[in-house]
């Protein structure tokens, strides 16, 4: 295979870098992680003319090479290390025509690294509307680069970009400005100390830690006689460097960029007047939240019912088609219900990510951050915590990762610690099934039903728990940290269908395969544990039950045998062992097993109950019906009644039952202290609240 051209896409956030990436690679892309860290790594292959292929790496968005977060640091780590396998043959800096001035700052820094660099000026379709005209040949000359004028939205200019990538060897690789002229003496000495190295790279390495505390230090050794400047002096130098770069950029753009203010239309200003309004801004935000909840509960219930029935049918058909035996039982009673428990999530997760990516893509999310900052600060959070808390309603894992752009460490830590309280999509199936079992299906008014109100209440409880604990943590935690906060307010854009679609597909896929593996493995283990027993009580179940109940019909007898077997299986013994602990909460041993197995991941609960209840049952039934027909052996009341149901709902609302979240919190905080604190605090809280709820309602 011919060598692929290695391309790095670099750019400020909100420049449409991802759109350009999607256009270059199509669906030919994969999302992973950089080794050892949880920064998302997006890469793909692009077909160029003449059969050449390019490997495209979409680096995290950054405003400059002076990293202030883990994501931004990845960019520097790769671009500074020629031996890195991702080190590019050519860098493509994506800029937005409306923010060209600011975007060029990063461009001049990349140029200083002496990598062949192409400048993409994106959103060219907005130029005439904004009254912007560009002198491309002049800009190419002044910036010493090749420019591709692209409109990702209209799919224009991508072919030109591909041609430029193909001819990367002839793209200029020399800097366009010398920004390190403000302290000649210092940089002369630096040059003498490291005669063979690029001054700018040295400067980057020296200043890397000023804005960003790296977790592991891999600095090249500085000779002992080299004078190290104080942090404050270095910061001054960085300010001066930035000013130098802007002076150059202003000078270039004065000639190359003309804005006719009169031609510009003020859609942004008009939208902002409403969306950031002191009353209407909040009103619209809450209306949008309401719409999202309605979508998750109401709209996705139709495909979910279909999926539930389809899997019941599939299980039944497989059973009748294949010859009976332990292997077929494993498929029909273990694997198929287990898979059903995963697939049933897809509609909700897809809806959630659909809304979140539309809000992000349109630029609205920044307005929410702006509106909520003041409120959130009262609780020790930042306006930027809103994004994690909202994404937390999909999944806590991306939410914890989304805290990275919170500047203040204290606000970020608190956000990480409280995010798992928000109602993630893994809690939804548990909520949905219990709500349908114990809350009456009646309407209040004309739109809302008790059931959807209960669900909304649970979301508020989750959010309340998050904000409440944040308030407490803010009082307890004694962490000194800066409280600065800078957020770009991007222009409004119509979300691009392709970007939204790819995002929804990627995120759903990641969830289904990530969680799916765990769920599938656990369902198989559970099935084995439920299908075998340690002693004769299990193997002789048929005889024991038949001799005990002589006058029962065959059908009733079969059911008795099945439940007797389950009781004396391995899982039955395990469940009985923990029954005393969960009994005060109103649960029987089967729910106990559900809870234990969901300590790995809460979504396992429904799958577990499905597996447990379908072991030995022959009828085609949905999980819901099976659960509804469970009765308490002593009282004869349904197991899932109002008291135990509410108690279970509250338990799942507060408990920390997700190993993946704990793992991600450990990674992001770089210590076991915080995830362990989370686990203990949330579990105890969940137990106590569920206990109180059951004892009051029973």
């Amino acid at each position: 295979m011919a060598k692929q051209i290695k391309v790095s896409l670099i750019g400020n956030p909100n420049t449409g870098k991802t759109s350009v990436f999607n256009l270059l690679t199509g669906l030919n892309q994969q999302v992973g992680n950089y080794p050892g860290i949880t920064v998302e790594k997006k890469e793909g292959v692009c077909k160029l003319p003449r059969g050449v292929k390019a490997h495209i790496l979409d680096l995290p968005g950054t405003y400059s090479l002076n990293a202030s977060s883990l994501d931004e640091n990845v960019v520097i780590e790769i671009l500074l290390n020629k031996k890195d396998k991702d080190f590019p043959d050519v860098a493509v800096v994506v800029s937005d025509v409306e923010n060209l001035k600011r975007n060029l700052l990063l461009f001049t820094q990349i140029k200083d690294l002496e990598i062949p660099t192409i400048l993409v000026i994106n959103m060219a379709d907005r130029m005439s509307r904004k009254g912007i005209s560009l002198d491309i040949p002049l800009l190419e000359k002044e910036l010493n680069t090749k420019i591709a004028l692209v409109s990702a939205r209209k799919n224009e200019g991508i072919d030109e970009l591909k041609k430029l990538i193909l001819s990367y060897a002839s793209i200029p690789a020399k800097p366009c400005v010398d920004a390190l002229t403000f302290a000649p003496e210092y940089f002369d000495r630096l040059k003498k100390a490291f005669p063979n190295q690029s001054i700018y790279k040295l400067w980057l390495v020296i200043t890397q830690d000023v804005n960003f505390r790296k977790i592991d230090k891999k600095k090249p050794a500085v000779p002992p006689d080299f004078e190290i400047k104080s942090e404050s002096e270095l910061k001054r130098f960085q300010q001066k460097e930035t000013i130098k770069r802007y002076q150059f950029i202003n000078q270039v753009l004065k000639k190359g960029l003309i804005i006719d203010e009169k031609a510009a239309t003020g859609l942004r200003a008009r939208l902002d007047r409403v969306l950031t309004h002191k009353f209407w801004g909040y009103f619209i935000f809450f209306a949008i939240l309401l719409l999202i909840f309605q979508a998750i509960y109401d709209w996705s219930s139709y495909p979910m019912d279909l999926i539930d029935e389809a899997f019941a049918w599939l299980s039944e058909t497989t059973k009748s088609v294949l010859p009976s035996g332990p292997f077929v039982d494993l498929i029909t009673e273990g694997i198929i219900p287990g898979l059903g428990g995963i697939v049933i999530f897809i509609p909700q997760i897809a809806f959630l990510f659909l809304f979140i990516s539309i809000l992000e893509e349109s630029g609205y999310m920044s307005r929410v951050v702006f509106l909520m900052d003041r409120v959130m600060r009262k609780f020790g959070l930042s306006g930027k915590s809103v994004v994690p808390l909202v994404s937390g309603t999909a999944c806590a894992i991306p939410a914890v990762m989304a805290t990275r752009n919170i500047e203040s460490w204290k606000e970020r830590l608190i956000t990480i610690l409280v995010v798992p309280f928000t109602t993630c999509s893994a809690r939804l199936p548990v909520y949905l099934i219990i709500i349908t079992l114990v809350i009456p299906d009646e309407k209040v008014g004309w739109i809302f039903s008790y059931q959807s109100l209960t669900l909304m209440l649970l979301y508020f409880i989750g959010f309340g728990a998050a904000v409440g604990s944040a308030w407490i943590l803010n009082k307890i935690l004694k962490i000194k940290s800066n409280n600065y906060f800078v957020i770009e307010m991007p222009g409004y854009k119509m979300p691009m269908f392709k970007n939204v679609a790819i995002n929804v597909i990627e995120k759903t896929k990641a969830f289904v395969f990530g969680a799916g593996k765990i769920i599938l493995a656990i369902s198989i283990i559970l099935w084995v544990l439920a299908s075998f027993g340690p002693n004769e009580n299990f193997s002789n179940a048929e005889e024991i039950v038949t001799s005990e109940y002589v006058d029962l019909s065959q059908e009733e007898l079969d059911q008795k045998i099945a439940s007797y077997k389950l009781e004396y299986s391995f899982i039955g013994y395990a469940g009985k062992a923990i029954e005393p602990i969960v009994a005060p909460l109103g649960y029987d041993w089967k729910i106990g097993i559900g809870i234990i197995s969901s300590f790995a991941a809460r979504e396992v609960f429904v799958g577990t109950l499905a597996t447990i209840y379908s072991v030995g049952s022959d009828e085609e039934e949905t999980i819901k019906n099976r659960m509804a027909s469970e009765v308490h052996p002593v009282t004869g009341n349904p197991i899932f009644n109002l008291a135990s149901g509410i108690s279970l709902l509250l338990f799942y609302a507060f408990a920390m039952q997700c190993m993946s979240t704990l793992a991600i919190v450990k990674r992001e905080t770089n210590s076991w202290k915080w995830p362990m604190m989370q686990l203990i605090f949330m579990s105890v809280l969940a137990y106590v609240i569920a206990l109180v709820a059951y004892q009051i309602l029973k």
Binding site: N99, D272, E407, F485
Partner: protein
């Protein structure tokens, strides 16, 4: 008394004077908050914080604490 961005009224424009403090985050400078550049207050959230500004053509929001460290000359 120093006049800073925190003193701006909605819609008012000003020029940024010298930036003297090293507690002003570099990121803000990188987004265009530099001496000589024009700043305009577009909107504030309730209680005047955060402040939604346009600086040097960039639209951004900052908290009042930082805004009150950036000296300006109202035009």
């Amino acid at each position: 008394m120093k006049v800073t961005i925190a003193n701006l009224k909605k819609g008012q424009r000003a020029l940024i004077k010298e930036i003297t403090s090293d507690t002003i985050p570099l990121k803000l400078l990188e987004m265009g908050c530099l001496p000589g550049n024009e700043v305009q207050l577009l909107q504030t959230a309730p209680f005047q914080c955060p402040m939604y500004l346009t600086i040097n053509g960039s639209h951004l929001a900052i908290r009042k604490e930082i805004a009150s460290q950036i000296e300006i000359e109202i035009i």
